[in-house]
């Protein structure tokens, strides 16, 4: 064995970027016990989604299969799996990390583009109707405070997402 020369292996070419990403750090701890799958309310009724399988595919380097399929978007973010995982794999966060990659590669369901532009434009995911805003005094509710949309735009552009959501808006 020669020192200083690392051979590149295809197997790790996907688990490494996942592992180095926020949320994906714990993926290689997985030993495929299936606690996550049997904890998952979605997996039990939809064979398309199985967290154990998604992690296995990711660890084996099946990037395309993980990122381009719908499966990764079927997680209901209930954190049951993460709570019970004996290896403390942060499974829900790993799924977020995978979704983040999929989003960057433009493989996300359309609704996420709507979320992104709503956030960028209003600082909120759900717009507040003028009707409801006017009705607030009737319900004995105080007027709404202004939203910090400018700060939010600064955050998104610092991360490099500002342009992206504008692109989506253009669509």
């Amino acid at each position: 064995m020669k020192h200083g020369k690392e051979e590149k292996t295809t197997v790790l070419s996907f688990s490494n970027p996942v592992k180095s990403r926020l949320g994906g750090e714990t993926i290689t701890r997985c030993y495929q016990c299936g606690t996550c799958a049997s904890s998952c309310p979605v997996a039990k009724i939809n064979p398309q989604f199985n967290p154990r399988e998604i992690i296995k595919l990711s660890l084996l380097g099946e990037e395309a299969e993980v990122i381009s399929s719908d499966a990764v978007w079927l997680c209901c973010s209930c954190y049951n799996c993460q709570e019970r995982c004996p290896q403390k794999v942060e499974i829900a966060d790993v799924i977020y990390a995978l979704r983040n990659i999929a989003f960057e590669e433009q493989h996300s369901p359309d609704i996420y583009l709507e979320f992104a532009s709503a956030l960028m434009n209003n600082g909120r995911l759900i717009p507040i109707s003028k009707f409801l805003e006017k009705k607030r005094p009737d319900y004995g509710l105080p007027p709404l405070q202004p939203t910090g949309v400018e700060a939010l735009k600064k955050i998104l552009s610092a991360i490099g997402l500002g342009g992206q959501s504008q692109k989506e808006e253009a669509k």
């Binding site: 701890r29 299936g34 049997s38 904890s39 997996a43 004996p86 290896q87």
Partner: protein, 806 residues
């Protein structure tokens, strides 16, 4: 003072080396060095005629310091030193170096440079030899007796071994009866026979014809000469050191006189106090006066003082025909003096109720394997019938779950190692007794790595035991039927199963026995990150500790099956016996010495010493001074490196010895390359240099090796001294930081190197001229490569320039 006269003996290894090194030049060079009075050259000096030359020179009184250049110095040194000692010279006045593997072989392509390096090596050895001082042999008396802590199979086996060998043995068990976990486990894999047979003590020594295994309850265990058994007892304090420990034991009252009790069992029927029997998985009750099972050891009743009404009742006292019951017994302190201690405290089952989703403790039909073992045991609470505790009806559908609390980062990250086999054993025992029982094992990985163990697994499959690869997420209970439901994914079929069960058995993790941490504190032993006792070296010294005289065996170091526990126990007993057998400890005074005038009682050294060899003792009312125990000191020098006031030195590696060596190694270059000083620890570092030479790996001759006992000895100013002496770069080569032969030396050196690098900047020296490397013997290639890299780096940096020379 006697004039120093150095004899130098140069071996050319049957002229092999003279093809590379110019021995005439070396001889001429050495002869001119002051105080060298004799120079000899031969093909070998470590045996035969060559060795006789050295002996003759010593006996004739011509020389009183010896430098030998010999190949394989780690082997030859032993012979040479022994011969020199026999000839009447102190063996520590000898310096052996290796011109073959450290010079000729690795520099064979540059013979001229190699010869120049050999000169430097020789002058360094000679200058060091001149400063060597005689070191005395010390003798400490040791008691020929031992304490064994823990009366499970490990402790019992070790105790019997030592007692058979004639040592006085004290066996201390905290429970009222011997046997530990083993006795509760009932049967053992892979033989499926009863857990508690041990080698009969009498068989080894007394009755030669009797070589069969013996049940501990039939073995006359308590009658073994030299064996003192203390049950219901706990070690509370240990003072002293190897060979002479003073042990304090708290012996809790049994309330039954061991000599009078005849086991007539007239006491239990009259006892009005009935409590759930924990020993038997609470599947039955016991009285306040009780024995675990009929065949316990010692065969004497005990009173549970947490529930007994004592004088308010005293019915047992009336019933006892031999007046054995003594309700007035009090706890007593027993003091023992022993030469050695064996720790055999074992392990315990993890409390699975912490894993809420499994509902152990909530639903009574969820039990652990230790509890199932009680049901399987004929002496157990159900008489070998497997029942559902909730309704006491037979359990027909059984699901076992592996890795409950082990391989689980939330609780115990390690694999307990024995649970797979325990589950297979219990599944098969159940299936043998009830062929129609439906037994399923849910597993993550089945681990059957021992002899016969894989065959065991195969037999389980043959018997129709079902295996599901998957760790269940939850155990539910159907409120209507009271059946348990195990919710699991069969990962191989990718199918979700809801396994119905009458009884769920958890393979709970095995963790360090209760009180392990406390005992470690009392003994001064370290625990590993999982809380088990840490052995000296897992590979070669698995039953020794870093403290001479204290040994470990059985589950105290990690969960073990019975065969491994037995091996371990015999090993610990052997090590203890070797230590105890002569009744004395003989040890060279290769130890640290304190300069009391400089000592500032700062507590750095006592805290840092990995062997607890340094203590602070009062001199005047306000002043303390560090004191080294020659018995405990291992001579590593970590204290030297730690002392901020230079108040400590090693007798065999004084600062002035290191300094002359350093200067001498840098005094001759002979190459066009920048000089590098490689300071190597005597363990992994120096042997890695050996192995690169043995394999004839080539590296440049400007790299010069200096050996120190452990790199932990190094002080920051020594790096600066090396640069001042002419080194353009310094390599520190040591054991890897987690594999240091002196526990903490490499880590200490790393800190020192870091600190020195910052300091170097102050002097205008590039910090990358000082680098630390961790390697092991077989990584000779790593050393050769590091030597190349360092040389190239220094060539690029150009000559060293010190700014504002201090």
């Amino acid at each position: 003072m006697e004039e120093v006269e150095v004899g130098v003996f140069l071996s050319d290894c049957g002229k092999q080396l003279s093809k590379i090194l110019d021995f005439n030049a070396l001889t001429n060079y050495v002869e001119k060095i002051s105080n060298v009075t004799l120079v000899k050259r031969d093909s070998e000096f470590w045996r035969g005629e060559g060795l006789q030359t050295i002996v003759d020179a010593v006996t004739s009184g011509k020389i009183n310091r010896i430098v030998v250049a010999e190949s394989l110095p780690k082997l030859s040194e032993v012979n040479i030193v022994q011969a020199v000692e026999n000839a009447g010279l102190n063996p520590y006045l000898v310096e052996v170096i290796d011109l073959k593997d450290h010079c000729a072989w690795p520099h064979r392509e540059t013979p001229r440079e190699a010869t120049e390096k050999a000169k430097a090596m020789l002058v360094a050895a000679i200058e060091r030899a001149k400063l060597l001082e005689p070191i005395e042999k010390l003798e400490f008396p040791a008691l020929k007796s031992a304490l064994v802590i823990g009366g499970g199979i490990a402790g019992m086996q070790a105790a019997v071994d030592l007692a058979d060998l004639g040592f006085k043995v004290n066996l201390v068990e905290k429970a009222p009866f011997l046997g530990g976990l083993a006795a509760r486990a009932g049967r053992f894999f892979p033989t499926d026979d009863c857990a508690i047979c041990i080698q009969s003590p009498a068989s080894d020594v007394k009755t030669i014809t009797h070589t069969s295994r013996k049940c501990v309850y039939r073995s006359g265990f308590s009658e073994i000469p030299n064996l003192n058994i203390l049950t219901n007892s706990k070690v509370t304090d240990v003072e002293g050191g190897p060979g002479n420990y003073k042990v304090t034991i708290e012996k809790r009252p049994r309330y039954v006189n061991e000599l009078k009790c005849v086991r007539c069992d007239l006491c239990t029927p009259v006892c009005p106090v009935e409590v759930p029997d924990e020993y038997n998985a609470k599947l039955k009750t016991r009285k306040a006066i009780y024995m675990n099972i009929p065949n316990v050891h010692p065969p004497v009743y005990v009173i549970d003082d947490s529930v007994c009404k004592f004088r308010g009742c005293a019915k047992c006292v009336e019933a006892c025909p031999t007046d054995a019951i003594e309700l007035d017994q009090k706890s007593e302190q027993v003091t023992l003096n022993v030469g050695s201690i064996i720790v055999a405290t074992g392990f315990q089952e993890f409390d699975s109720s912490i894993i809420k989703e499994y509902h152990y403790g909530d639903y009574s039909d969820i039990i652990t394997h230790l509890e199932l073992a009680r049901m399987i045991d004929g002496f157990g609470p159900t008489g070998s019938v497997i029942i559902r505790p909730s309704n006491r009806k037979p359990a027909k559908k059984i699901v076992m779950i592996q890795c409950v609390g082990s391989r689980d980062r939330r609780w115990n990250a390690y694999c307990s190692g024995i649970c797979c086999m325990i589950s297979l054993k219990h599944a098969m025992l159940v299936k043998t007794a009830y062929p129609n029982a439906d037994v399923t094992i849910c597993y993550i990985d089945i681990r059957t790595t021992g002899r016969e163990h894989e065959r065991y697994y195969e037999r389980a499959r043959e018997m129709g035991i079902k295996f599901v690869k998957g760790r269940p997420t939850e155990i539910l209970r159907d409120p209507k039927t009271n059946k348990l439901i195990v919710d699991v994914e069969d990962a191989l079929l990718k199918r979700f199963l809801e396994l119905e069960a009458d009884l769920v058995v958890l393979a709970s993790a095995m963790m360090p026995a209760e009180g392990t941490g406390e005992l470690a504190e009392i003994l001064g032993l370290e625990l590993d990150e999982d809380g088990f006792f840490k052995e000296y070296n897992a590979k070669l010294r698995p039953t020794e500790t870093k403290l001479r005289g204290i040994y470990l065996c059985g589950g105290a170091t990690f969960p073990k099956d019975a065969p491994t526990t037995s091996l371990h126990a015999h090993s610990a007993a052997m090590k203890a016996a070797k230590f105890l057998t002569t009744g004395k400890i003989v040890k060279d005074q290769r130890t640290a010495i304190i300069n009391e005038e400089y000592c500032g009682d700062c507590e750095f050294c006592p805290v840092t010493c990995p062997y607890g060899a340094i203590s602070l003792v009062p001199t005047t009312e306000e002043h303390f001074v560090a004191q080294v125990s020659d018995l405990l000191c291992e001579g590593c020098g970590v204290c030297v490196g730690t002392c901020p006031l230079n108040a400590i030195e090693l007798r065999h590696s004084r600062p002035n010895q290191m300094l002359v060596q350093m200067k001498a190694l840098m005094s001759v270059n002979g190459t066009s390359k920048p000089l590098v000083l490689a300071i190597c620890c005597s363990e992994c570092g120096h042997t890695a240099v050996d192995s690169s030479g043995m394999a004839m790996m080539q590296y440049p001759a400007n790299v010069r090796v200096m050996k120190v006992p452990c790199t932990g000895i190094l002080q920051v100013h020594q790096f600066l001294e090396a640069f001042k002496a002419g080194a353009q770069g310094v390599m520190v080569v040591a054991c890897k930081s987690d594999g240091c032969h002196y526990e903490v030396g490499s880590q200490k050196a790393e800190t020192k190197v870091e600190l020195a690098r910052t300091l170097l900047k102050e002097y205008g020296i590039e910090p990358e001229r000082l680098v630390m490397f961790g390697m092991v013997f077989i990584e000779g290639d790593k050393f050769a490569e590091a030597a190349h890299v360092m040389t190239e780096r220094l060539a690029k940096l150009g000559p060293l320039q010190m700014k504002g020379e201090a």
